[in-house]
């Protein structure tokens, strides 16, 4: 029997094409992506059939945790700092440049204004820890104070009013709340907004289709 010569085939696969594809995909993702903003609490928004998209810029978002704690987030860093200064002035607190710089980087915040200095002095991991602990214990040191009054104890009122004064007409308000939030907590936020004549705002929901 004659020997069959087995031809040795190279196992090298040309990866150039594959590389091309991945680079294209990567470019696509890099260009289309907007990063998920870090939020102090994960909320599951209720679903709705409404298909309106939220405006992209100049949105002040009021985040309501399932236990009623209120957090605020604003999208423009400079506005955020300007509003902090204005709110600080209302309560007779002035912030150093160092503190303002730190505040600039915090996307979402929720501490009473009297604790803000302490909060800003902490490192970022410590800040997160403080928020998480506070949420678990339902402590008073966490969340922007909201109440039924129309005085300075209602700090959410001050924040929103100052934001409105700064941005005038190009400011949209949005409420993002967990589906399981009890209605009284939402009512508190809504009536606070009502108290400063903010009668038009968005409720953030996720999409669902009509079931017939």
């Amino acid at each position: 029997m004659p020997k069959v010569k087995v031809k040795r085939k190279s196992t090298l696969i040309d990866m150039t094409a594959m590389s091309d594809v991945t680079v294209l995909l990567l470019t696509f993702f890099m260009l289309t992506s907007t990063f998920i903003q870090k939020e102090p609490v994960q909320v599951a928004t209720p679903s709705s059939v409404s298909e309106i998209k939220i405006p992209e810029v100049n949105v002040v978002q009021i985040l309501v945790a399932p236990n009623g704690k209120v957090f605020l987030s604003m999208d423009k860093q400079d506005d955020r700092v300007a509003i902090l200064e204005r709110v600080g002035a209302q309560y007779g607190i002035s912030f150093t440049n160092e503190e303002l710089k730190k505040f600039k980087l915090i996307n979402s915040f929720g501490v009473p204004i009297k604790n803000m200095k302490q909060y800003l002095a902490l490192e970022t991991p410590k800040q997160d820890e403080l928020i998480n602990e506070g949420l678990k214990k339902n402590s008073r040191g966490i969340g922007i104070p909201v109440d039924t009054t129309e005085t300075s104890t209602n700090e959410l009122r001050t924040w929103i009013r100052e934001a409105r004064l700064l941005k005038r007409d190009d400011l949209a308000l949005a409420i993002k709340a967990d589906a399981k939030t009890p209605y009284p907590d939402i009512k508190l936020v809504m009536s606070t907004l009502q108290g400063i004549d903010e009668n038009r705002y968005n409720l953030i929901t996720s999409l669902k289709t009509i079931k017939d």
Partner: protein, 272 residues
């Protein structure tokens, strides 16, 4: 990682340049790209969140409350209670008292399609039908415009082809780009103003009927945010233009209590 393979044919033909086969191994590159893609896929949010717009009534103390010119038989009060319970009664309690004695004044319903939605669609038949007709017509037109759009773009391509043929020296990229932007611009402008027009028309339809119900939403302290959103959703589905979220009153709570106890609470007399 680049391999340079030299193939030497024993130097039979002298003077000919040696062929260099440069083969770069792209596997690590692909690995790295895959990792990056994974990162971007996980760290990004592709879709913007949906919202629903809500307009709350202005504060009562600040505005003079106009006596509403609403016929009493158009008003429906919806009560949201805990444990996903939903009730409604007809009539406006600020004008005429509902029958507190009879626990059947309050009707229990649900968040399902057969519950509140069926009732409201029944009350708002005219508007709902008009809305449905409008939507069908709109979809029809949109399909037609899309077809036209396709035809237009193919015509556009043909035009570019012709031009390039005439020019013979390759595609005039600038011209092609310009033609494309014009087409896209025209399309976008058309659609944008179209959407606004549609929205206005929908609102007109919603307001046209003078029989469609006017809803007063009252949420008790036991209800959740989800309940509220669900009911607001029903308003949108049923094409109701006039509704308001107001505070729940003691009378309403009494009605719920009375319904739950099947009239036992009414023995003590109506609440004041």
């Amino acid at each position: 990682m680049a391999e340079v393979q030299e193939k030497d044919k024993g130097g039979k033909k002298k003077g000919k340049q040696k062929k260099m086969h440069i083969h770069v191994d792209f596997t690590p590159m692909v690995d790295m790209n895959m990792l990056l893609i994974c990162f971007f896929m996980l760290a990004t949010s592709m879709s913007k969140p949906q919202t629903m717009e809500i307009v709350m009534p202005a504060k009562e103390t600040k505005t003079v409350v106009e006596p509403t010119k609403v016929a009493d038989d158009r008003a429906v009060t919806v009560l949201l209670d805990g444990e996903d319970k939903l009730y409604y009664y007809e009539g406006d309690p600020s004008k005429t008292d509902p029958d507190y004695k009879d626990y059947n004044t309050l009707k229990e319903t649900s968040y399902d399609a057969e519950g509140l939605r069926a009732y409201l669609i029944g009350r708002n038949k005219k508007v709902v039908e008009e809305l449905r007709e409008f939507k069908n017509a709109r979809d029809n037109i949109q399909n037609q415009t899309q077809n036209l759009q396709k035809q237009l773009s193919s015509l556009n391509e043909k035009a570019v082809e012709l031009i390039t043929k005439n020019k013979k020296d390759g595609i005039d990229a600038a011209l092609k780009g310009k033609l494309d932007t014009i087409a896209i611009d025209a399309y976008k402008k058309g659609e944008g103003s179209l959407m606004d027009g549609y929205k206005k028309y929908v609102n007109e339809i919603k307001k046209s009927s003078d029989e469609s119900p006017i809803i007063v939403l009252k949420a008790s302290d036991f209800s959740t945010y989800e309940n509220l959103i669900n009911v607001l959703d029903e308003m949108q589905i049923c094409g109701i233009s006039t509704y308001a979220v107001v505070n729940i009153t003691l009378q309403d709570l009494f009605l719920i209590e009375n319904y739950k106890t099947k009239g036992a609470a009414a023995q003590g007399g109506a609440p004041k």
